[in-house]
């Protein structure tokens, strides 16, 4: 049964293999560097500021920031990997070898997205392994955590593919990281609880989609959140569905991919 399905989708498997191989060949750059930089955040902010900011919502500060930093590292990796891989494939035109092949549009879309998912999982897992000896991180709501991280990866992996298709230069892909994802992650409560902000900053923070993502993941790890976890998952799910629909449309119609 599995062999028959695999035989029908060899193109999908081959392209997924290629995307994974790209991540693993460049592992110092794609996996090790993001793990170390996120760990440094935990070491510097958590362990040094932890003495001054003892607890947030009854959670030690060095523990409070772990879910946010894991989420940030994973979504940045999923986005950056796919935007760079797709843009490079377009720029060097080796994407033509894939577009000419007998693969269905959804197979190409899925395979290109999975590279970012693999990278995000490697980084998330590696970061947790590095953090565990320093901070005892619980998983209070495993199901919520799995759903929240899955939605995060789908959302940002697909978003990376979309930006990789639209980008006309490397600057465009970096622009989204530096001026959209990173600021929204910081302002979404990666290092603090939005509940502690004065009005109107608290209300404005609720317009930030990454705020809901961070809350859902934090609830999965710590069992505490600033807003309802159902609302958080609904917002993340709606955004993920929207971006997946966008990337599917691009591959189905060939718009921006083919002149």
């Amino acid at each position: 049964m599995i062999a028959a399905v695999a035989a029908r989708h060899r193109g999908l498997l081959a392209l997924t293999g290629r995307e994974t191989a790209r991540v693993l060949k460049l592992w110092t750059q794609t996996i090790l560097a993001p793990i170390l930089s996120s760990f440094l955040f935990i070491a510097v902010f958590g362990l040094s500021l932890g003495g001054r900011i003892r607890e947030i919502h009854g959670v030690p500060y060095e523990l409070f920031i772990v879910p946010g930093l894991v989420t940030m590292a994973m979504i940045q990796a999923a986005y950056a990997n796919n935007s760079a891989s797709v843009f490079q494939a377009r720029f060097d035109r080796y994407l033509n070898d894939v577009l000419a092949a007998p693969m269905r549009p959804w197979e190409v879309n899925l395979a290109l997205s999975l590279g970012g998912v693999v990278r995000a999982l490697c980084i998330g897992g590696g970061l947790l392994l590095l953090v565990l000896p320093v901070v005892d991180v619980p998983v209070r709501e495993p199901l919520v955590l799995v759903v929240a991280l899955a939605l995060a990866m789908v959302l940002f992996a697909s978003f990376g593919v979309v930006v990789g298709i639209y980008a006309r230069s490397w600057d465009h892909t970096a622009f989204v990281t530096n001026l959209v994802i990173l600021p929204l992650s910081f302002l979404g409560g990666a290092f603090y609880s939005v509940d502690l902000l004065p009005s109107p900053w608290q209300e404005i923070s609720h317009l930030n989609p990454i705020f809901y993502l961070l809350n859902a993941v934090r609830y999965g790890f710590l069992g505490t959140a600033d807003v309802s976890v159902a609302l958080s998952l609904a917002v993340c799910g709606a955004l993920a569905a929207g971006v997946v629909a966008w990337s599917s449309w691009l591959f189905r119609t060939g718009r921006k991919l083919k002149p």
Binding site: R10, Q88, D92, Y94, D97, A100, M103
Partner: protein, 242 residues
């Protein structure tokens, strides 16, 4: 019932978003097993035609059939092998991986792909470079790899877009010999080239196009007679002036 042609274009039209009309209700039929040449100046529509057949551009109007199948269907795409004019190799893959992943994209199982990749590396003298990444290869080696990749999945229709552009004379003769053997084995070849002697030397039939329209189509001898010319170069000059 006669077998379907290798390639059939009916009223193929391509207008780019910029407004440029690259192909204008273009009709063409290439019989199965033929060696067909496409000549024309830059901007004539040769690469647009090839890109349309290979699903690399959005067609504005018309129909493309490959051995009777709609060109968008996986069955049709599996029967086409393309070596593009520009070197477009995956910078992250070495020679062997380039061939293996290509085989995978075209539905080959791992064992068949490995066997065929070995054959292609032997035929194109790439074995010693099996673990060298594409950017580290010489220009000639890259050109060989492009051709090996196009033939990896054993296509019935091979499209070669200026395959000998920028290669030295020795390699050009080697590639000619290989392409001839391929054709003798029953593969249909569609070749575009700027080298008129290459078209005359290799092709059974030649089409001359300009501005997205077909100007003439015949064997080299037939074209010389029709244009009352001494050589294909003269034919080309007269066709462009007409």
């Amino acid at each position: 019932m006669s077998p379907p042609p290798a390639l059939q274009l009916r009223a193929l039209t391509k207008r780019y978003d910029s407004g440029l009309l690259a192909l204008d209700r273009f009709d063409l039929e290439i019989p199965d097993g033929s060696f067909f040449g496409l000549l024309g100046p830059n901007g004539a529509g040769k690469t647009t035609l090839i890109s349309a057949v290979c699903n690399l551009i959005r067609v504005t109007d018309g129909e493309i059939r490959v051995f009777g199948e709609d060109h968008r269907m996986p069955e049709a795409r599996r029967m086409i092998g393309l070596a593009e004019q520009d070197v477009n190799l995956d910078r992250f893959l070495d020679v062997e991986e380039t061939l293996l992943y290509h085989g995978g994209y075209y539905g080959m199982d791992r064992a068949s792909a490995r066997r065929r990749a070995g054959e292609m590396m032997d035929v194109f003298d790439l074995r010693a470079k099996a673990d060298v990444r594409a950017p580290q290869l010489s220009g000639g080696m890259r050109r060989r790899l492009l051709l090996a990749r196009a033939l990896m999945h054993e296509p019935r229709l091979v499209i070669l877009d200026e395959p000998t552009a920028g290669v030295d004379f020795e390699l050009r003769l080697e590639l000619w010999a290989y392409i001839r053997r391929l054709h003798e084995g029953g593969t249909t070849i569609l070749l575009t080239t700027h080298y008129l002697e290459e078209a005359e030397e290799l092709c059974e039939e030649i089409a001359i196009i300009r501005g997205g329209r077909l100007l003439a189509r015949d064997s080299a001898e037939g074209l010389r007679e029709a244009f009352e010319a001494q050589s294909i170069a003269d034919v080309y000059v007269k066709a462009m002036a007409s």
